[in-house]
């Protein structure tokens, strides 16, 4: 039994003028505790696929099963992190973090304390009463991670969560997120167009081809890269050869398009 299984997903966007197929025949499986990346050029339906897996969007065809049951948002099974933090600017950090618990009526002293300790673990203390605008971009994205983890989702969706950050912050956050997910044994799917990020963070990388989006190739990362942190992985000798391989595949994808 697979933890997450995505079966034959097709999705078409309809407008008055056209019917654009965004995804075609996508099937993949993710095991519990695994970190999987969806890599591809823009317009290959990565975000669409994430929305479908997290049941925000109903696919034209196909099914998504989490522990053999269809996914719903109501049971807090899925945590979703967006490109920007999207912290609510009129709420304090504390209110932002507890939002998910409040909405699902799970907010009590115990879950509150847990969320607060999570904030501490991630290196943010004494910011509970502050407003989001008082924090830097990296700190805000960390708060967003805490907000996502606070409801204890089974599966984490990371939709290019580091793309709006500067390079240094991005590298640090990659390490932090990777370590935090390892500690909690969370399963995660990362969407990115950054080859290095995909290699450094993942156990497996799915390369998607554009228009319509389909799985072009799958790369399994070697054990020596999986065991170390993303930052170390970037400096590992195995890293550059994998980078080259994926780079070439992406190039050939572009040639095919032309």
């Amino acid at each position: 039994m697979n933890f997450l299984s995505v079966q034959n997903i097709h999705h078409t966007y309809f407008t008055k003028a056209s019917a654009a197929t965004a995804l075609s025949d996508i099937s993949l499986t993710v095991e519990e505790g695994e970190f999987v990346s969806l890599l591809g050029p823009s317009g290959c339906g990565k975000t669409t696929l994430l929305s479908i897996i997290s049941s925000l969007l109903k696919p034209t065809q196909g099914t998504v099963l989490l522990e053999n049951k269809p996914v719903t948002t109501t049971k807090n099974q899925i945590g979703y992190m967006l490109q920007q933090d999207y912290l609510f600017p009129w709420k304090t950090i504390e209110e932002n973090i507890l939002l998910g618990l409040k909405l699902s009526k799970q907010l009590n002293d115990q879950t509150r304390a847990k969320a607060m300790s999570l904030l501490e673990q991630i290196g943010l203390t004494g910011v509970e009463k502050q407003m989001p605008r008082q924090l830097s971009g990296g700190m805000r994205q960390r708060v967003a991670l805490v907000r996502t983890l606070a409801t204890e989702p089974k599966l984490l969706m990371l939709d290019e969560p580091f793309s709006a950050l500067d390079y240094q912050t991005k590298l640090k956050l990659e390490d932090l997120v990777s370590r935090t997910l390892d500690e909690f044994g969370k399963t995660a799917i990362l969407v990115t167009h950054d080859i290095g990020e995909a290699i450094a963070m993942s156990d497996r990388v799915y390369l998607l081809s554009p228009s319509p989006g389909r799985i072009y190739k799958t790369f399994t990362m070697p054990d020596e890269l999986r065991k170390i942190s993303p930052f170390e992985a970037r400096n590992h000798e195995a890293f550059s050869s994998i980078f080259q391989t994926i780079w070439k595949e992406l190039e050939s994808l572009e040639r095919e398009k032309e």
Binding site: S54, L56, T72, T73, T74, K75, N76, I78, G79, Y80, L82, Q84, Y86, F88, W90, L99, G100, L103, S104, M131, T151, M157
Partner: protein, 268 residues
């Protein structure tokens, strides 16, 4: 090191000082304009350069003000108009926001009602006055309705537009937490639109005064609008000017109150 710090502090003090000086000059010129305006009004009226019957004079207005305060009628008139205006204002804004919420709630309703909103918005609402008076009777209800109706449609349109423009990613965040549509409205749509709602409040302050004064023109036997019409009918323009000044003062106070509310609601 400490020398450097002292220098910085000195510069900062100088900067603050320059701000204070600038503010004083602004206030000074504002006062000058006020004094020159009223002084030249008074002077030219005394000298008969302008028709004192038509344009009255500040001293006459002031005397009439004291007289009306003493016999208690002015307080009564102000009370009536102020109550009507505040009620019309609150009712108009509230109804407009509720209507906007309904439109946001159901895209179908919003599509169906779209042309009617455009028509209602374009129509001069004061033209509805006679119908309101017949329907609600000549009294407070029709005047308050007048104050409300004049602002309700424009509030609906502006607030609904702001509801629609809330970044959909905030909704996405809420939806991943399994939020219902009501929760989405409460947690994201409404608070994100507070700045727009406040700015429509500011517009509505002026609009409600227009509605209520016109309403009083049409029916009332009390209130500031009545004072204007009465002054006009008996050619007592001092009375008209007095009413105008009082309206100006109270409209300004209402506007300031809205700004105070803005500071409270939007913690920037």
């Amino acid at each position: 090191m400490s020398e450097k710090k002292n220098k910085l502090e000195l510069l900062h003090r100088n900067y603050i000082q320059s701000l204070i000086v600038e503010k004083r000059w602004v206030r000074f010129y504002q006062a000058i304009i006020f004094i020159i305006f009223f002084a030249s009004w008074e002077f030219s009226s005394q000298k008969q350069w302008i028709d004192p019957l038509l344009f009255s004079s500040p001293s006459k207005i002031w005397n009439l003000f004291l007289e009306k305060i003493n016999d208690g009628t002015l307080v009564n008139h102000i009370g009536v108009t102020l109550t009507e205006t505040v009620l019309g204002f609150i009712l108009g804004t509230l109804l407009g926001t509720i209507l906007a919420a309904i439109l946001w709630w159901s895209p179908m309703i919003s599509k169906v009602l779209d042309p009617y909103l455009v028509i209602l918005n374009a129509m001069p609402k004061v033209a509805l006055g006679p119908i309101l008076i017949v329907a609600l009777g000549p009294g407070y209800p029709s005047i308050i309705a007048m104050g409300a109706i004049i602002s309700v449609i424009i509030t609906t349109i502006v607030v609904y537009t702001s509801f629609k423009e809330v970044d959909p990613n905030y909704l996405k965040v809420l939806q991943t937490f399994g939020a219902s549509r009501l929760q989405c409205f409460k947690e994201a749509i409404l608070p994100a639109s507070f700045p727009t709602i406040i700015s429509t409040l500011k517009v509505n302050v002026g609009l409600s005064w227009v509605g209520v004064i016109v309403g009083e023109f049409l029916v009332s036997s009390r209130g500031l609008g009545y004072m204007i019409i009465y002054g006009f009918q008996v050619f007592n323009f001092t009375l008209v000017f007095l009413s105008l000044m009082i309206i100006a003062v109270f409209a300004t106070i209402m506007y300031q109150l809205v700004e105070l509310l803005e500071k409270k609601l939007i913690k920037e």
